[in-house]
């Protein structure tokens, strides 16, 4: 840790690290001048629409496409048999998730359909409207099969097996048994338990999934314009399954209108678009509409958890014992699998605490609903809600304050690095400092006084806490070791241009979260140029270094470190050249604010524009042995720990109208420790957006299915996303504990808000309802459920 007390490479004159700066792409986006996939129009382009299964589980007896083919403007109609020769199926398993299994998945129905909305046949036409007209003229004869929808009975002996070749409906089973759980519960002063229901929901990016596949027969090249988080992963997967040379597949990802983990997976309709482009030799565009998004974008969560916790009389957590079952739809999603979410739940529950005994049994089961896979927060919201509710139950049972029970149970500050009973390794966390700061900024004592006074007037307010850990900066242990070609390393190339500005290309990607801004800040600081002289390019696999893109909160920590090292390397090259030109010693020179300066006095020796001009156009003036090298590339892989954990403390303040069941969100506070803060405003906005995306499913968002597996709310009128009017002010503050795994010291921040909010609001609602003896653990907390809990409906 001590090296961080020395002046860092980042504490330089004209450093931009740690400062709020304007986002270079914001002007373009707010003016409506972004380039999303649907803005791109290529010559001879055709548009896809799909006939999608109306049933959750059925045999496809026959498909009649004659009338669809006859619709004027239709270029082609495709079933699985029409594309089978150009594409191979995929299976969503990874080697390091022991025992995980799934079935082969095809881009179009291959004899059976397994969820409502699964693509069965595709129409390519001159417009999307014509394609939809024709898709209505595809007639499919189905023979209905019994749908498996209830995950709690998916493994029962009389439940049909969805994929007979797998033998049962169990995708993945994980058991942890650490310490002596039975003894801990036997000796406990207090044992608490509850059953939790976590609702299926989905990401709802404003820009839906979108792709254009442009196949050149002449070159054997496929260019993909995609709205995606991982361009290199997509390049690999399309090449692999379309049988193309990976070097001849290019992914171009321009502006992305949100993704949240939705745009990180393999989707049947997008793979079908690739196959059809290869067959037609024409550009093929597919833009998912909102209904298609609801029935095919990965869903998330959908867990039932039974958990109990043991405490000693001092309110110290001794043990947690939990069972989790989660329904993932008919397939484990390729290539990341649908086992990771459960893995995170069992790895992370109780993460902030020092209990030595922990048992978890998690089952991932198949069902005939849309697939479920990684979405912002991956497992964390479940783990945090379960653990933090148990902490509150323990506090209540022991008559202690929930803050004190947390303090008593935190891992001691001097115990780091610390290995949790689930095997997770924490480098260093600041739970105590975060919670102390949180209690201060929210005026906890004042809120408790007000709460008591208001109860006398039949106004029911509640305060809920959540302390949490978050997985960030992943090493290759996340996916790479399991056999997935998903890069955990990332790279950055920075070039000094003749004008004295720099251009940085990076493998991490921009979805609206500000990646390009922080890369620019780091590059400007490391090289020593003004921020407005930095251009950052992302998202084009033929331009940027090979990298993993955006997942597991890695953009700042991994991509940022690569940018820092590339910038430092370029600066060294610049100084070496400047020393030759100026006949000075390199250690007497520095680069600051776009100029070569004397390191001691700061006096300008030469502007970078002059150096660039000499390097690129007047090499004749340089000594014979000097060859300018004004491009530098560096890569970074975090391999010291499997992940670098962040931590945070959240608090939520609500008022429950016990007559109508409406929850009013009054305030929300977060104290977050994401290590080095590169841009305070972006960190705060990531946290706020994450909190909102966690409050949404706790109060509003749910993919509702009938018992037959029909999605009941496929529009934004019926699927309620959190909106500004209901959201509270969210106050964000920081503790900075830089990670020692990198020079930059940054950890991730993209998902922690989502991780903590469901727990905090659940605890706040239950605190508000405490006078009624009501405890609610079935999300979302609708007015209906609250009134029923109160015996008023």
């Amino acid at each position: 840790m001590n090296e961080h007390l020395k002046p860092s490479v980042l504490d330089r004159p004209n450093s931009y690290v740690g400062k709020t700066v304007p986002r270079p792409n914001a002007r373009r986006l707010v003016q409506g001048c972004g380039t999303y996939v649907d803005d791109i129009c290529l010559p001879r382009m055709v548009h896809l629409a799909f006939h999608r299964s109306a049933f959750a589980h059925a045999k496809v007896v026959s498909i009649d496409t004659d009338e669809a083919r006859a619709v004027p403007g239709v270029v082609g109609v495709f079933t699985m048999n029409d594309i089978r020769d150009v594409i191979t199926p995929w299976t969503g398993v990874l080697d390091h998730l022991k025992g995980i299994k799934s079935a082969e998945q095809w881009p179009l129905a291959n004899g059976k359909v397994f969820w409502q909305g699964e693509p069965v046949a595709a129409v390519a036409a001159v417009s999307r409207a014509v394609a939809e007209d024709a898709a209505e003229q595809i007639f499919v004869e189905y023979e209905e099969l019994t749908p498996v929808t209830d995950m709690e009975t998916a493994l029962a002996p009389d439940t049909p097996v969805i994929h007979p070749e797998l033998g049962d409906n169990l995708c993945f089973h994980r058991v942890i048994d650490s310490g002596d759980v039975d003894a801990a519960f036997a000796d406990a002063a207090a044992v608490v338990e509850d059953t939790f229901h976590f609702n299926r929901h989905t990401g709802v990016p404003m820009e839906p999934r979108s792709i254009i596949c442009d196949y050149s027969r002449a070159e054997g090249e496929l260019t993909l314009y995609m709205s995606v988080q991982c361009p290199h992963m997509s390049k690999n997967l399309f090449a692999k399954h379309l049988g193309l040379d990976e070097n001849k597949v290019r992914v171009i990802c321009r502006d992305v209108g949100g993704s949240f983990g939705i745009k990180i997976h393999t989707y049947s309709d997008e793979m079908a678009a690739g196959a059809i482009a290869v067959i037609l030799g024409r550009p093929v565009k597919f833009i998912a509409d909102r209904l298609e998004s609801f029935v095919t974008d990965v869903h998330a969560r959908d867990h039932v958890v039974k958990a109990r916790a043991a405490f000693n009389s001092g309110g110290e957590l001794l043990a947690i014992d939990m069972d989790d079952v989660t329904g993932i739809g008919p397939y484990s999603v390729y290539p990341r699998t649908s086992g990771i979410e459960l893995n995170q739940v069992v790895n992370l529950t109780g993460g902030p605490y020092k209990h030595a005994s922990y048992r978890a049994d998690g089952k991932v089961v198949f069902q005939n609903k849309n697939v479920m896979c990684q979405y912002r927060g991956v497992g964390h919201p479940i783990a945090v809600a379960v653990g933090e509710h148990l902490m509150d139950l323990g506090a209540r049972k022991l008559g202690l304050d929930p803050v004190d029970v947390r303090h008593n149970s935190f891992i001691p500050d001097d115990a780091y690095p610390y290995t949790s009973p689930s095997g997770a390794i924490y480098e260093r966390q600041s739970h105590r400092q975060c919670l102390d700061k949180l209690v201060g900024i929210m005026d906890y004592a004042g809120l408790r006084d007000a709460q008591a006074q208001m109860r006398d007037r039949n106004i029911y307010r509640g305060i809920g806490f959540a302390s949490l850990i978050e997985v960030t900066n992943p090493s290759p242990a996340f996916y790479g070791v399991g056999g997935a070609r998903i890069a955990s390393q990332d790279g950055c190339t920075i070039r000094l241009d003749p004008t004295g500005g720099i251009t940085a290309t990076t493998g991490v990607t921009e979805q609206g979260q500000g990646t390009e801004t922080i890369i620019a800040q780091i590059a400007a600081t490391a090289v020593g140029v003004p921020l407005d002289q930095v251009r950052v390019l992302t998202g084009d696999t033929e331009i940027v270094p090979y990298g993993g893109g955006t997942w597991a909160s890695r953009g700042a920590g991994i991509g940022g470190e690569a940018a820092l090292q590339a910038g430092k390397a370029l600066k060294e090259n610049i100084i070496a050249l400047a020393a030759a030109i100026l006949q000075a010693k390199p250690d007497r020179l520095d680069v600051r604010d776009g100029s070569i300066v004397d390191i001691a006095t700061g006096q300008e020796r030469m502007p970078l524009s002059e150096l660039g001009g000499i390097a690129y156009f007047r090499g004749d003036t340089l000594p014979k042995d000097v060859q300018p090298e004004l491009v530098a590339t560096r890569h970074y892989t975090q391999r010291q720990f499997p992940f670098v954990f962040t931590n945070a403390a959240h608090a939520c303040h609500v008022e429950v109208d016990v007559e109508t069941g409406i929850v009013n969100l009054l305030n929300y506070w977060v104290v977050e420790d994401c290590g080095r803060v590169i841009n305070p405003k972006l960190v705060a906005e990531q946290t706020r957006g994450g909190v909102v995306q966690g409050l949404g499913p706790a109060l509003y968002e749910e993919c509702l299915y009938s018992s037959e597996g029909q999605l009941l709310n496929g529009s934004l009128a019926d699927y309620l996303v959190p909106m500004a009017a209901e959201m509270p002010d969210i106050v964000v503050d920081h503790i900075e504990t830089p990670t020692g795994t990198s020079e930059l010291g940054a950890k991730g921040v993209g998902e922690a808000g989502t991780a903590g909010a469901p727990a905090a609001v659940m605890n706040a609602i239950n605190d508000a309802l405490d006078p009624f003896g009501v405890t609610l653990t079935h999300m979302p907390f609708t007015p209906d459920k609250i009134l029923k809990g109160l015996g008023r409906a």
């Binding site: 417009s127 509702l704 009128a717 209901e726 007015p783 008023r792 409906a793």
Partner: protein, 289 residues
């Protein structure tokens, strides 16, 4: 989500609207603000062959103060009604309802008449015109007619408008000094369709309440009055109100349906809470009168 191809007629006059409606009958749909019709077409739940855009028809626009009534043109945008001082003065119930209708972008295009003709069971305005005993002025090739709000709504998305008729305007009786009004709804988010809502108007004289209209919405197939509860309130001294009796009368009047996320039982509780809040508000308003 693209509609099937359709013809588009931008009508310049009421006569042109009626002519096309007569010629095309149920193949035609009148397009006002399009806030419900266009999504319905995009989802391909509706596929009219011709849309008659009435936004340029001046006979359908404007808000007019007449002797006993306020006349609101069918083509008035929600935002116009929201901002009209005449509405605030003469039809405060409608003014109270307007901010609850969806969001600003929808209120900028959606229309007063369009909402009534769409007859969504969760919409605010059908309940308002029901509570106010408004009259709806209709025209068609067979001639103009006027109909009470009570008779206009037939069911979910169903009204008594014939295929060749169009709603022209709505006559709302002007509020009187002894009237008291209440509007509220319970919605999960601001601007959402309510789980239960109440539009109510009554007369209070010397603390006694008469002529009570309780019009509920989002609880059945169509906005609906609650006759037993109205009767239970009729003529009573507000300060002596027996809330339990009124709540039980509401249960006799209406058995709300379950919707996707709210049970009928929860809706009934919300209706009873809204009614109690209405009567409490009436008592306050009556005391100030």
């Amino acid at each position: 989500m693209k509609p099937t191809a359709f013809e588009y007629v931008r009508a310049g006059s009421l006569d042109e609207v009626l002519t096309v409606l007569e010629e095309r009958g149920d193949e035609a749909k009148v397009l006002a603000g399009g806030q419900s019709l266009i999504p319905t077409m995009n989802m391909r739940f509706a596929a009219p062959e011709v849309l008659i855009d009435i936004s340029g028809v001046t006979e359908l626009r404007g808000i007019e103060v007449r002797d006993d009534v306020l006349r609101i043109g069918a083509m008035c945008r929600h935002v116009e009604v929201l901002n009209a001082p005449e509405v605030a003065e003469h039809a405060p119930l409608i003014a109270m309802a307007m901010p609850n209708i969806a969001h600003a972008a929808i209120r900028n295009r959606g229309t007063f008449g369009g909402s009534l003709c769409h007859a969504d069971p969760a919409a605010e305005l059908p309940a308002c015109v029901l509570a106010l005993d408004a009259r709806l002025n209709i025209d068609g090739k067979s001639g103009p007619r006027s109909i009470s709000a009570r008779d206009f709504f037939l069911g979910t998305y169903m009204t008594c408008l014939a295929d060749d008729e169009v709603l022209i305007s709505v006559d709302v009786p002007k509020v009187m000094s002894e009237n008291v009004t209440f509007f509220d709804e319970v919605a999960r988010r601001r601007g959402d369709y309510a789980m239960a809502g109440l539009a109510s108007q009554a007369t209070v004289r010397s603390g006694f309440i008469t002529d009570v209209r309780l019009a509920f919405f989002a609880v059945g197939e169509v906005a609906v009055r609650a006759p037993h509860a109205e009767q239970a309130l009729q003529g009573i001294l507000l300060q002596d109100m027996d809330a339990d009796a009124i709540c039980s009368a509401i249960a006799d009047d209406i058995s709300p349906f379950d919707d996707l996320t709210t049970s009928g039982a929860a809706k009934l509780t919300m209706m009873q809470v809204l009614t109690r809040r209405a009567v409490e508000s009436f008592a306050k308003q009556g005391a100030h009168a």
